[in-house]
Symmetry: C2
Subunit: 343 residues, 2 copies
């Protein structure tokens, strides 16, 4: 079902007006704002056609039209022209995200904050999935007798800590030996491979609990016993208050609840995140309660080569895509850049 050029013109004008005003748009407004040189009456005919085809909706008989999800989809896929980012803005962002001295979580949180500040929407960054990343270093620190802290560093300088209990006979020197042994053993593998290797070695070393390697493996197995939930940094939820679509507190509440509940949020991101390039998802297109009316714009970032995580922006369907999309894209680039130096 192709749209005629005039229909596209009306749809574009309508959507862009609606993005600015959040109010149903009438034929008169479009007649004035578009450069089609048609009278309101003609516009009305075109609008009726667009409504029939599903691109527009009418809240009630005597209101103007608002774009439907289909309308927005058509707009972002076929019409939208992105504004390129000004170089001042690029500099400003690069500067603020990345003091390269930051550790990865701080860096990602910064990115999320900046994104939220610049777009006036809610910023979101999904942290790398640890198990896909290369092992770098493991270390044990004896906090007290029987209480050992394991510190696991993966490539890029991402650190995970865990506290485990240990044989009372172990002392600091033992721990140093263990870490030397394990660092050597795990060199150059991903965490997932390390995990597998641990299981395998444990099998082999089953009978030799007394040996150094047996003890070391028992210790490291504890460190790997449970998986950490993948982190998500969500910043700027206050921005929701700026938008008229959130004047209904119940809706706002539902969305905030979704964002606070990390497991549901991760589920949502899983559904939505394509491995490459910018993507724009409307809530109606995903199966997640309470997200029906919102949009997620996201772009993956990567280290040396493989994708690590995702940055994005969450807001109402009515969003200034032309401005927000390039910002999200650029943020992903900056993060990729910063991380690449570390991998």
């Amino acid at each position: 079902m192709q749209l005629q050029p005039r229909e596209v013109g009306v749809l574009t004008t309508l959507i862009e007006d609606y993005i600015q005003t959040a109010v149903p748009v009438g034929s008169r407004t479009i007649a004035k704002k578009s450069n089609l040189n048609l009278s309101p009456a003609s516009i009305r005919n075109i609008m009726a056609d667009l409504t029939e085809k599903g691109y527009l909706e009418q809240p009630h008989t005597s209101a103007g039209r608002i774009p439907s999800a289909l309308g927005f989809r058509f707009y972002v896929d076929s019409i939208l022209q992105y504004h390129p980012l000004s170089s001042e803005k690029r500099n400003l962002m690069t500067e603020h995200i990345g003091d390269a001295k930051l550790d990865v979580p701080d860096l990602l949180r910064n990115a999320s904050r900046l994104l939220s500040a610049f777009t006036r929407q809610v910023g979101m960054v999904l942290a790398p999935k640890a198990s896909d990343i290369g092992f770098k270093h493991i270390d044990f620190v004896l906090l007290k007798p029987c209480l050992v802290m394991t510190i696991l560093v993966v490539e890029g300088g991402i650190v995970q800590n865990k506290i485990i209990s240990a044989d009372p006979a172990l002392n600091s020197d033992d721990l140093v030996k263990f870490s030397n042994f394990l660092n050597h053993l795990f060199q150059g593998r991903t965490l997932a491979q390390v995990r597998a290797r641990v299981v395998q070695e444990m099998e082999a070393a089953k009978k030799q609990y007394q040996t150094m390697s047996g003890q070391a493996l028992a210790l490291v197995q504890q460190a790997f016993a449970t998986d950490r939930e993948r982190e998500v940094f969500v910043e700027g939820t206050v921005n929701f208050f700026g938008h008229p679509e959130f004047s209904n507190p119940a809706k706002l509440r539902e969305l905030l609840a979704l964002l606070e509940e990390r497991t549901r949020l991760l589920e949502l991101l899983d559904q939505v995140c394509k491995p490459e390039g910018i993507s724009i998802f409307f809530g109606r297109e995903v199966e997640q309660d309470g997200f029906q009316e919102y949009t997620l714009i996201s772009s993956p970032y990567q280290g040396q080569d493989s994708p690590l995580g995702v940055v994005g922006v969450i807001g109402p369907i009515r969003m200034d895509y032309a401005k927000v999309v390039p910002l999200v894209e650029f943020t992903a680039q900056v993060i990729s850049q910063l991380l690449r130096n570390r991998f």
Copy 2:
């Protein structure tokens, strides 16, 4: 200005009713709910006295009364009887906060979440101030040539990471030597002392950049170059939506903005946190914009002996103090308990 027993009775009934309903309370209601056996007319006289003395306020002529800040202050200081926590609840909380395997941030975040879930208010936990804690261990990992990750472990198993740049000539073996040297040097000091010591040693070693100790100090100095902001875990902001006092979105927005802006929040906590015992602060009693209408209930937690941080709950002045206060107190106890095992 002492209150007579009857006045106290009326005030108590009124506040407790108001805590439940959030609606101005009239004389008839009090006459029925209190056990003073007085008619509404008599209650009205007493209420007029209480209003004159500043314990009650009247939103408008024909409304009932609501407690003033002074009224609440009197209530929490002189009247309030805490409900002891049921042992099931104690068990439930202990169990959920503390899998002792968690690292400190996760543990504190958990505590904050639980507190928020049980009180239906917003939970808050202020993390320990690193500089007061004892040094435990420092470690360097070579991520790439010129790029070193420093891992600093302090007592209790709190970890701080930082990425710093290094002399290209350094290799992993050098880093091991450095950390051995420094771990020995800093043994048994607090971070603040370590900082001071680094400065002092740098002075002494000024001329000997070539020596191992000179290089090690140069490296560690970078690691200590900037201070980290003290962390605060705020959880359950969605709970604000449950309370009628937040039906005004502008107020809600202001409070959320305050909670998102960590520096302002830290300022507030600084004003409010007494070093010992539970404390209840009304917004009107502190100088922090946007906090006028809320209450912060807080209690410090400690490791082996000295106070480390604070746990608390933020909500409207109208709060079920009898229930919330013991919960906050108990959470602080559980955290103290868990941390004590590690210090």
